[in-house]
Structure formats: structure tokens, C-alpha cells
């Protein structure tokens, strides 16, 4: 970036209006090196700037609530299709099975557990 002044020495046509600078010298930057987050945390805590996030927020993703388990044995072709569809959509197999159950209940009525 030029060290010359960014401000025009003479005002533009309307001298009563303040003149804004030319900012074209400022451009997006190249990627920056990573910072050591553990050191940052230590510095922050020592200076009295603690984390304000709850423990559950810090842990990462929220629990899905999917604690039930089944262990079906399927024909290999069906198992492969389920796996392929889950990979394509980026979902867990449990989500797909829940969707299958919803379609089943739509067709045959609600199943009482």
C-alpha cells in the first residue's frame, strides 16, 4: 500500500461536503498463520476474560437424543443401499430408519409401542 495520503488535497466539486478517502489500496489479505488457541485461552483466563459459553456449547454439537439401538441383519444389497443413501445425504443410519418408519406409519397407521 502506498504511504502517500489517501485524501485528495482539494475537495471535490461541492466544497461544502466532506470528502471521503480513496480506499482502493486496501485489498483482501492472504491466509494468516494459525494461532495457538490453548495459549489464547490461558491468556484470556489470566486477564479475567473467561469463556462465556456453557459447557454444552463448548462440547460441540448438541446431543441428538437418539439413544435407542437396534441391530438388524439385512441382505447385503439392502445394507449397501442404506449406507450409500446415508453417505450421499450426510446423515446417520438412524435418521433414515426413522424416515422409513414415518412412511410405514403413513401407509399402515401408527404403531403402538
Amino acid at each position: 500500500m502506498s504511504r502517500q495520503s489517501m485524501f485528495p488535497s482539494k475537495p471535490a466539486s461541492d466544497s461544502s461536503e466532506p470528502v471521503r478517502p480513496d480506499l482502493s489500496a486496501f485489498q483482501p489479505r492472504a491466509p494468516m498463520p494459525k494461532v495457538d488457541v490453548r495459549t489464547l485461552d490461558a491468556v484470556s483466563d489470566a486477564a479475567g476474560f473467561p469463556s462465556r459459553q456453557s459447557a454444552s456449547e463448548r462440547r460441540g454439537r448438541k446431543p441428538s437424543g437418539r439413544t435407542g439401538q437396534i441391530h438388524p441383519k439385512l441382505l447385503p444389497e439392502a445394507a449397501e443401499k442404506i449406507q450409500a443413501e446415508c453417505t450421499r445425504r450426510g446423515i446417520q443410519q438412524g435418521v433414515l430408519i426413522e424416515e422409513m418408519l414415518a412412511l410405514y406409519e403413513d401407509r399402515f397407521g401408527t404403531i403402538s409401542s
Binding site: M1, P18, L23, P28, R58
Partner: protein, 230 residues
């Protein structure tokens, strides 16, 4: 290129207003800005919902400690200016944002309580500088001063900051109706109608002087960095 962080752990010091004025002035000067709203109260995000948000200001709400660094880095690679408005509380989010800053602006009103919290911010900056062996330029910005009255307490406070060697903006952000108006009605100073808002011309001159001093500080910083490298 520049990443500018607004920080003071006390609320009501003028962080959001001064961040917004700088962003809208940069946008009015035809550059692009990402304005990161790191305040859970979302004042900037609420402003972005109002009419007249300039197309060259993108507002991103980010209050997650795990994501803030990535959000800042990604923005800095896309646009020339990244501005981060922090919450008025002592939070790790502020420390993270500062670690990327080319300039930390510490807004404060001319009050002892604001000054104590500004001092706390400067202590954090100094600790971070020592830990990472990196200079983090910072300046205190006096906000909401009166154009007509200069209280004795403010003069004494400014003298104290000066005596302690605290970097201080020459420009003060005055208490102006147009600065409040953009928070309430959206857009920037250019979107306000002079007949409807008093003191618009003086507010524009104040905002431009403030932006000019920010740019001057950034230029000096860049010059110093170039000398260090050489």
C-alpha cells in the same frame, strides 16, 4: 486487509455505534466490509434488518468461540475490511478477536468506570502481545462527548490517559443525533435527510475525521511492520 476490533468489557461505551459509523463510512467510500456481530444482544444484526443497509456491508452474526477465528479469517480473505463488534462483557470471544486484529479500538465515555474497563482491555492486549510476541496496535476512542461543553472530569481523564502513555484518538465521536438515527432507522449517514435530522453535516465531518484517523493508524502500523520485516 485490516481487521479492526472494538472492545471494552463495559456496556454502553459506544462500541456498536463507533463500529457501525466506521463500517458505513468505509462502505460510503466504495470499499467492502464484513461486520461481525459478536455481541449476543445482536445490535448490528438488528441494524442490518432495517432499510438501506449498504450492499457492500455484509453482517455476520458470530458468538461462538470455536468458530470466531475461522469466521474472521474467511472474511479477511474475501473483503478489504473486517470489523468486529464485541459484547460489553469480559469474554474470551474478545481475546480471540484481538488475536487477529490490526487495530483494537477501545471506545469509552469520559467516565472513570469506562476508563477502568478500558484499562482492563489494555492489560489483556499487553498480555496477549507478550504471549505471542506480536504488536497489537490499540487506541482509546472517547465517545459521546458534547460539542458545546467540556467537563472538567473529562479533561482530567484525558490528561491521565496521556500521562500514562495510553494511545488516544485525537478525534472524539461526539454525541450527535445522526449517529443515533442510523442505529434507529438503518443505513448510513448518507441515507439521512438533512431536513429531518439536525446536525447531519457536522456528524458527517466528525465521522470522516474519525475514519481518517483510523486509516492513518493502520497506515502507520503497516509502515512499522514493513520496517520490522526489512
Amino acid at each position: 486487509m485490516p481487521i479492526i476490533v472494538f472492545a471494552n468489557p463495559k456496556g454502553g461505551t459506544g462500541k456498536t455505534t463507533s463500529a457501525l459509523i466506521l463500517a458505513t463510512e468505509i462502505a460510503a467510500a466504495h470499499s467492502s466490509v464484513v461486520l461481525i456481530d459478536a455481541d449476543p444482544n445482536m445490535p448490528i444484526s438488528e441494524w442490518a434488518e432495517l432499510p438501506n443497509k449498504p450492499a457492500n456491508i455484509e453482517v455476520i452474526r458470530e458468538t461462538n468461540e470455536q468458530r470466531i477465528l475461522r469466521t474472521i479469517d474467511a472474511a479477511a480473505e474475501r473483503v478489504p475490511f473486517v470489523i468486529i463488534d464485541n459484547e460489553g462483557t469480559a469474554s474470551r470471544l474478545t481475546t480471540y478477536a484481538m488475536s487477529r486484529a490490526d487495530l483494537v479500538i477501545i471506545p469509552m465515555q469520559g467516565k472513570q468506570l469506562d476508563a477502568r474497563n478500558a484499562a482492563k482491555t489494555i492489560e489483556l492486549i499487553e498480555t496477549e502481545q507478550d504471549a505471542f510476541r506480536r504488536s497489537i496496535p490499540h487506541k482509546v476512542l472517547i465517545t459521546r462527548t458534547s460539542a458545546a461543553i467540556r467537563p472538567k472530569g473529562l479533561r482530567a481523564l484525558q490528561q491521565e490517559l496521556h500521562d500514562r502513555g495510553v494511545p488516544l484518538f485525537r478525534t472524539e465521536l461526539l454525541e450527535r443525533v445522526p449517529f443515533e438515527a442510523i442505529m434507529a432507522y438503518g443505513g448510513g449517514l448518507d441515507d439521512l435527510v438533512p431536513a429531518e435530522v439536525s446536525g447531519l453535516k457536522a456528524a458527517k465531518a466528525n465521522a470522516i475525521a474519525y475514519m481518517a484517523e483510523v486509516l492513518e493508524t493502520l497506515q502507520l502500523r503497516q509502515g512499522a511492520t514493513a520496517q520490522e520485516v526489512a
